[in-house]
Amino acid sequence: MNEEQRAPIADDVLIRVRGLSTVLNGKTIFDKVDLDIPRGKITAVMGPSGTGKTTLMRHITGQLAPDAGEIFVDGQNVVRLDRAQLFALREKVGYLFQNSALLTDFSVFENVAFPLRQHLSLPEVVLRNLVLTKLQAVGLRGAADLMPHELSGGMMRRVALARAIVRDPMLIIYDEPFVGLDPIALNQILKLIRTLNETLGITSILVAHELAAISRVADSIFLIAGGKIAAHGKPAELERGETPWTKQFFSGEADGPVPFQYPAPDYAAQLGLTGARA
């Protein structure tokens, strides 16, 4: 590992983002964002839709290069890593996609076994036991032989979670893990997130907007809005927050700093009213 890329970061910070700026399709997504994600904790990243929460995750995992800024993950600057180093880093990161992204050609078992088969050449017995252990952890050992299309959305997400943790990562990123789940499945996922964090000490980043669910597990919350960190703190603190952003977001008001109306030309002018008058 290149020593120059190591920054003097306290051990309790796993991810350090400094001066992150991104412009996508002419729209400013991030404007000099700084944030630290502590090791071994569950950190939630919240924000109105389209504020770039997923983009932030793609920056952290090196799928997308930012226009400016530095992102240190476990001491390595993701921005400057080449492909091989990036892949080496990603082997230590589990990523749970919003739509599970299971490989449709493979059974549940083979999906979970996929990262192991690709990177390690384990004896079949060891691999089998490892996969079954992880499937047991998400409660789907009995579904090992099913194909992904035979599963419900919640089950697919749990399989994807088993796949994300099969190599015992140091970091798991949950991208919208609660979307489209019924309350039972939601609670199952929630319980798994907490268990994984408590028993294995895996650092977790939770991208979501379900405030009630998040406040039950997250240690701290970042609220991203308008390309900035609008608020940061423990769930309880933010719910009492007094800034306009937190007020609107946590009480769910339809209009506020996040406008109800998408930016548009003057209403009257577009309807031709001013034109008629002139």
Binding site: N25, G26, T61, Q63, F87, A88, R90, E91, V93, Y95, F97, Q98, N99, A101, L102, L103, T104, F114, P115, Q118, H119, R163
Partner: protein, 255 residues
């Protein structure tokens, strides 16, 4: 950015060709790494090759029979029906075998490659592989590319064999041409290197271009159902054009 640039068919077309060529280089660079996924390559040969056999064999048989009928008619005007075997085999080996196989391949296997990769892109499976530190080029694209390279010439050979059989069926069994004349004329004028092997080279090249276009369209598709639909159509259109254009160039060089 793409949203800002004014779209123009000419520059877009050139940009597509450029991107496609770069994509080819990336595939070639990923081929050594894809040798680890040998089993996946075998699976793809099964999907693009063995699964295309039915259509290739049926079409080969009928093309051969039609050639037998048509050429018998034309040759009988000149009293040269003895040359039927020669003319059928030469037209199959040199042109129709590789070209028709490539066109059928683009329709049967090319579209399924595009749709499969496109849907993998749309459902984040490609991103998931990248996140699992698996290079999708080496795992998804390169095995299909290699499979196309291997399968296409084999399919073309099967097509040719069935075509000869079909022409024999029509010429000898139906129209009463002498069996010995049919074969001896063929064997004395068909050259194994100039005709058979050159045809195989052609189909290797067509295999490369068809799978390149199919994987490129799938890999770069817009991740929506409309995007996948467009990409699939483009695969057939571009593959057909590229095959016929390349056929002209290769014929000029190999003759």
């Amino acid at each position: 950015m793409s949203a800002v640039r004014k779209p123009s068919y000419l520059t877009d077309g050139i940009a597509q060709i450029g991107a496609c060529s770069l994509f080819l280089l990336r595939i070639l660079a990923a081929v050594p790494r894809s040798l680890r996924h040998f089993r996946e390559t075998v699976r793809q040969i099964w999907f693009v090759g063995a699964m295309s056999l039915t259509i290739i064999m049926t079409c080969g048989l009928f093309v051969g029979m039609v050639l037998g009928l048509q050429l018998y008619y034309v040759l009988s005007i000149f009293g040269g029906t003895a040359a039927l075997g020669t003319v059928v085999s030469l037209s199959l080996y040199r042109e129709l075998g590789p070209v028709v196989t490539a066109l059928l391949f683009a329709g049967r296997a090319g579209t399924s490659i595009t749709a499969e990769i496109g849907l993998m892109r749309a459902t984040d499976q490609i991103s998931a592989m990248e996140m699992m530190a698996v290079d999708p080029l080496a795992y998804v694209v390169a095995p299909r590319f290699i499979a196309g390279l291997i399968a296409m010439p084999l399919l073309a050979c099967v097509f040719n064999a069935l075509g000869i059989f079909g022409a024999h069926l029509v010429g000898v069994s139906w129209l009463g041409l002498d069996n010995g004349t049919f074969w001896s004329n063929m064997t004395s004028s068909v050259d194994v290197w100039k005709d058979v092997v050159n045809g195989v080279w052609k189909s290797v090249a067509f295999g490369a271009i068809c799978t390149l276009i199919a994987t490129f369209q799938g890999y770069t598709t817009a991740p929506t159902s409309e995007g996948v639909a467009y990409a699939t159509t483009r695969t057939v259109v571009f593959s057909s054009i590229a095959t016929l254009a390349l056929d002209f160039v290769m014929t000029a060089f190999l003759m």
